[in-house]
Amino acid sequence: MTVHAFHIFDRKGKTLFTKRYSSIVKNQPVQDAELLSEQRKLIFGMLFSLRELVGSLTPEGESPALHSVRTGAGTLHCYETISGLRMALYTNNNPNMGSNARNLDTSKTSFQNALKHIYSELWVDCVVRSPLYRPGDIQVDGNGNDVGRFDIRSTNFEKKLDAYLASMPWFR
């Protein structure tokens, strides 16, 4: 069981952070950056439309929130904050939950908790509090031609994220 990828989008759909963990990529040629960016746009579009749909489907009084999208190949776990930050974690379908192999419910809640933890402990602590952070002006890809845009590599968000995900029993 592996985590394949992790993306963070802002309210407008701009990608704030993206990382691929998959080891299967060595069988495929390196994907074009264009293609990956298109893929991310599609993911955001799907999350956006689903949120509208879920909002209209939910009965009165319940809180509408999309937890995950499950396909034959993998599951996309999502978490969205009220400020519009969306996080998406794409994993394999049968997570190894550690010592007890439980039913699907606990695996869902534990992913939600993990995403919540990533938001509150890692994102807020490392990125929002960084003095260089400028919402709306983040550059994702490493080919930095524009000076003065915030580069997420100036914080240790990625290192902390890797350490946190590696400590989860369902990571590998």
Binding site: K12, K14, G45, G61, K116, S120, Y133
Partner: protein, 202 residues
């Protein structure tokens, strides 16, 4: 209303968990910032605008911290704020309490429920501050300076991130002789969540 005391309790709990800074250092740092701005811009109206801009920048960052801490505290904010009244309570009781440690009250809701006021008994920013008297020989009139205009920017920036466009003004100020500080907040519009430029159809 049970939500009022819930918000107050949650605010108390959040304040307890936040790292604290020295209140005097805070007030004096803000004071020197305002002094520099006055020296640079000279016109108090311009200084007010700059303070609002700085506050906006702060608000945009504070809202993420607030939402993440409040979520973890189990407040379930998505179900809590049904209308502007709830939002006002949350901003005053939880937001101000969490970041500044002060007790703020809400009141003076307008007829159409689109405006409200936040009252602050003591203002930690203006601890050692005195505004100078009117200068009879002309020069800039510092009585027009809104010393705590930072708060207006913070509220504006924070609410903008949750799709509420508001206008904030300081209407009463203890530095000018009133008995408490009052910030008037007006809802201009509720913004719709939209996808950005990348997604515009051709």
């Amino acid at each position: 209303m049970s939500s009022k005391s819930q918000a107050a309790q949650a605010g108390q709990a959040l304040w307890a968990k936040m790292p604290k800074a020295n209140a005097e250092l805070f007030a004096l740092t803000y004071g020197s910032l305002v002094t520099e701005l006055v020296r640079d811009y000279e016109d108090p109206i311009e200084v007010n605008a700059q303070l609002d801009r700085i506050g906006h920048s702060i608000g945009v960052r504070c809202v993420d911290e607030f939402l993440s801490k409040a979520d973890v505290a189990g407040m379930g904010l998505t179900t809590q704020c049904q209308n502007l009244r709830d939002t006002a309570e949350v901003v005053a009781k939880m937001g101000f309490k969490m970041f500044l440690g002060i007790q703020a009250e809400v009141g003076a809701f307008s007829q159409d429920q689109r405006c409200f006021s936040i009252y602050l008994q003591d203002n930690p920013l203006s601890t050692f501050v005195e505004l100078p008297e009117d200068d009879p020989s002309g020069g800039e009139d510092l009585r027009r300076l809104k010393y705590s205009n930072l708060y207006c920017g913070v509220i504006r920036g924070a609410l903008e991130q949750v799709n509420l466009k508001v206008d904030c003004n300081i209407v009463r100020d203890t530095l000018k002789g009133d008995e408490l500080n009052e910030i008037r907040v007006e809802l201009k519009e509720v913004l719709a969540d939209g996808a950005g430029d990348d997604y515009k159809e051709e």
